[in-house]
Amino acid sequence: MDISFNIGGEAGQGIDTIGDLLTQVFVQAGFYTFTIKDFESRIRGGYNFTQIRVSDRPVHTSVDQIDMIIALSRDAVVNQRERLADGGVIIFDDSVEFDDLEACHYPAPLEKIAKEVGGDARMMNAAALGAVLSILNFPFALAQEALTGIFERKGEKIVASNVNVAKTLYDKTKENFTGTCKYNLETLESGPSKDKLLITGNRALALGAIAANLKWISSYPMSPSTSLFQDVISYSQQFKIGALQTEDEISSLAMAIGASYAGARSMVTTSGGGFSLMVEALGFAAMAEVPVVIYNAQRPGPSTGLPTRTEQADLLFMGFASQGEFPRIMLAPKDPLESFDVATRAFNLAEKYQVPVMILGDQYLADSVMNVPRIDVSTITVDRGKLAKPGSNPEYKRYLFIDDGVSPRAFPGDEGKTVVSAGNVHREDGHITEDANIRNLMVQKFMNKIPKILADLNPPQLYGDKTAETTLMTWGSTWGAANEAVEILAGRGKSINQLHFCDIFPLRTEKLRDVFSKSKRVIAVEQNVTSQFAALARMETGLGVSQHINKYDGRAMTPGWIIGKLKEAGIV
């Protein structure tokens, strides 16, 4: 089973809540789901959609073909019907007027029944669910069970009305829907998935950060990063996390660095435009060796670009941002589950090496929802790196020259130590100097960190046949689409695999070299126009990919799109 739903309508019409409910029912019923959000940079109206893929196998990407469209507006049909699979169904609220719909498509009284039966237009989501499940012949008992689980906390009455609304539409649809649907889930029992944690990339990052003992967050809202910041704020009172919406991004990173200098694990969240404003403070964090975590949820640029859409075009910018040269770490999680892990690693790496750590997400990662296994936090360790021995030490030097470049930290407030930091070239004691020798030693101190960092980063992962002829090289959130493309092609007998990077800067190159030596062709698949990761890889190794596949319209890749591009290029 592998069904895709596209729920479309105007912003503010509640397509998200329909989507949420649908997803939850399938997750409860034991399936794997993957949901993407496509919306415009406006608050009401326009045309947005949520696309949900449900499968009995793990899924990490959306696909091009839609099996069922749930349309709350005309546009929701018009914009998607071309993608409808053979035998697909369009359900639309019967308040929407169409003259030109094929017979099999189904005008459902979603809003009407929600109001009449549930007494609340917001129960449209249950209504839509009823219609969808009915068309699929999904056993209502399973749906009822799921609905009960979902609304349990809100009380019996809510459960009852929702079940009622859903059942009404379920039955009405049985009567009125004249088409047939290619999926018939009549005999469906519970699916194989035990993954019951529905989570977005942003929320997983937020929870990972909190688990990693985040104590300070200062941000300025910017799509698509804002939900991470808001999530942390929503938990801030429970955990006692200092959280402040600042006047701008300059201030947000400056405050986070200040807080970290004073001993609190700190982070900021933003997107490319906001990161642009953080560049100067990034260099300060590096120079003063103050650990900090920066999350950039990328969106298409340059400039304001497409504010609510997805791209991976800030890689080289972030890799070289700020004047001068210094070690930094960049991590790009592939999906919500890896996001949690990346967040916890980010803070440990930042403090171990006293460098800025940047997490590169994008709108696709940030807003996608998938169900993942329960995350067990008991194994999480907080490694604060080298700390100065407690007790009075008037000789304490914050920037002690030391082989691996990492000097023990102390914090203001620690009795008997003076902690002096500056953005100028400084001596071991932190006081500023223009001495050429000290300058050289300081630069070398910085550079000495890099080999240790490299050894501590994760190498890339090779997916599929190790000896394949063709390799797709990916990083970050495009993993899912490429991974499925490789699976499909391998299934068709093609010799293809995938080399995927999460830890991208500094770049571990052993495996990369190895793959280049074995593959006949390496193809960079990137959500940008200039193949930035391939450029970075070439800068580090001299090895150039044979081909590039680039998507830069702000819409996420799909396996089908990648396969299409590979075909166009005559590769498969």
């Binding site: 997750v27 409860q28 689980g149 979902i150 019951k196 944690l197 529905l198 989570i199 929870l207 909190i210 688990a211 003992n213 104590k215 300070w216 200062s218 938990y235 801030s236 009172q237 006692k240 996390i241 200092g242 959280a243 402040l244 600042t246 006047e247 300059i250 201030s251 947000s252 400056a254 405050m255 986070a256 660095i257 200040g258 807080a259 970290s260 200098y261 004073a262 001993g263 609190a264 700190s266 100067e280 300060f284 329960r374 995350i375 936090v377 008991s378 999480i380 914090f411 203001p412 407030g413 009795e415 130590k417 003076t418 902690v419 002096v420 930091s421 500056a422 953005g423 100028n424 500023i432």
Partner: protein, 289 residues
């Protein structure tokens, strides 16, 4: 007890002979000695400029010498991570009122518990004397040639601070040590956003706002019966400009400061606080279907 030797500077002072910063440095040391706070609980922060080098001239004190225009947000982070610290901001007029003006006003309205000491010399000292935002209209410099000199009104830091929401606003003069020490001590101990605009002659670049000029054009607010609790009177005094510069406290009030409005630990501070993993697990488990 803190003795002067403890504060002896780790570095030789690089200011020009006769610079107004010396008076501020001396006053700061006296204020620190008289306050008698444990030294490890004091943090000097600064931006970039002649004035902002001050952390290197006071010994035994934590410091964060930051970026041009940004000491206030850095200091805000230091303060909130550990509210036991006394965080003092040294900033130039270019630093605070050009590059950093937005932060200054936002910190004032948030009433962040900081003491902001503006070394106000009317010029960008360290970059060689260009007019700063506090230079009077008509002031002549390399970047404001005559006619007309600086073609704009100056920024008025005390008036803006009062309007914005600062709860302690004063003006000091580097030439008035005794007065300045008092103002510094008050600013450091004040609970909330405290600003001291310090008249600081730059003997190298500023031929207009000199020691002589200030000696002749300043007068004491307190000796002339000013009501520091009256916001409008404070404003009126703060708007006096040109011929006479009042020195002393303009305004003082009390309102909740930022730390009180954030989710900081009731006991201890962020720096030493730990998120309970059990609670994280519970959130995750609650999120599960």
């Amino acid at each position: 007890m803190i003795i002067p030797e403890m504060l002896e500077g780790p570095q030789k002072v690089t200011w020009c002979t006769g610079c107004g910063n010396f008076g501020i440095l001396a006053a700061l040391k006296k204020a620190i000695i008289e306050l008698d706070e444990p030294l490890h609980n004091i943090v000097l922060t600064s931006g970039i400029g002649c004035s902002s080098k001050i952390p290197h001239y006071v010994g035994g004190i934590n410091s964060l010498h930051t970026l041009h225009g940004r000491p206030i947000p850095f200091a805000t982070g230091v303060h909130l991570a550990n509210t036991d610290l006394k965080v003092i901001v040294h900033t130039g007029d270019g630093d605070c009122l050009a590059e950093g003006l937005g932060h200054f006003i936002h910190a004032a309205r948030r009433n962040v518990n900081l003491a902001v000491l503006i070394h106000n010399n009317g010029v960008n000292g360290l970059t060689k004397g260009q007019y700063s935002p506090s230079a009077p209209r008509g002031y002549i410099s390399n970047t404001s040639p005559p006619p007309p000199g600086a073609p704009m009104d100056p920024v008025n830091p005390t008036a803006l601070a009062i309007i914005a929401g600062a709860t302690y606003v004063a003006r000091g003069f580097s030439g008035d040590q005794k007065g300045l020490v008092v103002l510094m001590k008050e600013a450091i101990t004040h609970e909330g956003f405290a600003v001291v605009d310090i008249l600081q002659p730059c003997v190298t670049w500023n031929r207009q706002l000199t020691w002589k000029y200030y000696n002749e054009h300043t007068y004491s607010l307190q000796e002339n019966g000013h009501d520091v609790t009256n916001r409008f009177q404070a404003m009126e005094k703060a708007m006096e400009n040109g011929d006479r510069y009042p020195v002393g406290v303009f305004y003082r009030s009390s309102s909740p400061h930022l730390a009180a409005g954030l989710a900081l630990p009731e006991k201890g501070n962020l720096k030493n606080h730990t998120n309970d993993l059990k609670d994280v697990q519970k959130i995750i488990d609650d999120l599960m279907l």
